[in-house]
Symmetry: C2
Subunit: 262 residues, 2 copies
């Protein structure tokens, strides 16, 4: 069950939806045990999942699914199970990490506008795959440096508000707004908390990383130079970065010790 | 009738169409007598129009029309008529002259891309009025320096071929091609001509200025930096500029003397 320290955070994030247990577990392993050889002991995992308000039965089902999917593996060591990412799970976690853990972009970061000859699907797909964001018909906003052959690439200048809004993922607007409320609430509540043990920190980080990556990985990163400072997605990024730095990843052995003492 | 020196030029340009006599006369006065107090004597005008292969009756009708339109005025001085631009005719000639007589643009001339928030008619009209050329949906190419409020203005870079073609006036393509043939033919024929008197020069200039302005004034000037060097419109501009500089405007008194001697 949630501890006194993390109860408000668990409550704040629970309303956001999308808390599928297997997905939460992917976030947890990616955050705590992405290194080669890292493993989480069964009792530690149970304690954390319990603190995240997940029933033991639901955790077992999720573990089973992730093992079947080739994401996690479990080994018996003496009387306890140790769970770890497979090579595939580790590779996929590593691929997503740069984006999830990126520092918030500099709002003066250069960007470029890339304009295409045609409205072709292939060009559109290639540009989106390269991280470009459609902004106007046949015109995409993206990071500087990689302009596809045959396109017109123009260096970005301070953009008007309508362009900043045009590149925001409109379909995630209400979700980013809700995440910002949860993050702000959590940050305020944390100011009252005297002590966070290793499990508390693991739980808090899992909630933050999980709910952040659910949104951030659904759209390309916006170059800082086109970000509207009041955009919820950017405000979330600032808070996520701030809190993850304030509460660094606990070491796995500290987690084991805390969990055993709890 | 055309002189031996200008006959090939008259023939080369005659196939281009659009040689309405009143319009040809507008070009002539704009080229020869745009200064305040400038006037063309009746006999000189008759000689030039004859050399342009215009029948006397057609010249008289055109003169009448231009007087009625407030473009030209005629005064009797002794036994001859003197024809001159009215203040209005002079003002309108002066307004068109910078574009007609502009040197060909530097192909490295800076340009900008201006992008609009909406597809609105008002914005479109304002941008076109300011000399901007629609290049993509909601994106216009224009000279640097004047970007309308609320638009995104990006500095131009070396453009791909498709953008250069996109800003060319497609509807004038065959007309510019034909003009280029006429100008090239004329330039080649002129190489064989030993002597051009003042009337010959006036006739040649009138043909060049008239047929050039008919096309050039129908579309906004392309910033040099987006011009496709092989574009007929640009090749015409180079030849027009070259020939007008090689055959400068004759003085009105030289014209009178040549005409009287002819």
């Amino acid at each position: 069950m949630p501890s006194d320290s993390t109860l408000p955070a668990v409550a704040a994030f629970s309303s956001l939806g999308g808390q599928r247990v297997w997905s939460l577990m992917v976030s947890l392993f990616g955050d705590l045990a992405q290194g080669e050889g890292d493993a989480i002991d069964g009792p530690v995992l149970s304690t954390i999942m319990g603190a995240l308000d997940v029933r033991p039965e639901a955790s077992r089902v999720a573990l089973h699914r992730l093992r079947n999917d080739g994401w996690l593996q479990s080994h018996k060591v003496g009387r306890i199970s140790q769970h770890s990412l497979t090579a595939q799970g580790r590779a996929e976690s590593a691929a997503a990490s740069p984006r999830i853990y990126a520092a918030p972009p500099d709002l003066l970061e250069p960007w470029q506008m890339v304009m295409t000859e045609e409205n072709g699907r292939e060009t559109d797909a290639a540009l989106r795959a390269a991280g470009f964001i459609p902004a106007l018909p046949r015109a995409y906003v993206g990071p500087v440096g990689k302009a596809p052959e045959g396109c017109l690439a123009l260096r970005g200048e301070t953009p008007p508000d309508w362009l900043r809004r045009a590149v925001e993922p409109a379909e995630l607007e209400s979700e980013y707004d809700a995440l910002l409320v949860a993050l702000t609430t959590t940050e305020n509540e944390l100011a009252r908390v005297r002590h966070m043990d290793a499990v508390d920190v693991a739980v808090l980080r899992c909630l933050i990383v999980h709910n952040w990556r659910r949104l951030a990985l659904k759209h390309p990163a916006l170059p800082g130079g086109v970000i509207r400072p009041k955009w919820s997605g950017y405000q979330c990024h600032l808070l996520v970065d701030q809190m993850l730095r304030r509460y660094p990843q606990p070491a796995l052995q500290d987690l084991a010790a805390t969990s055993a003492a709890g």
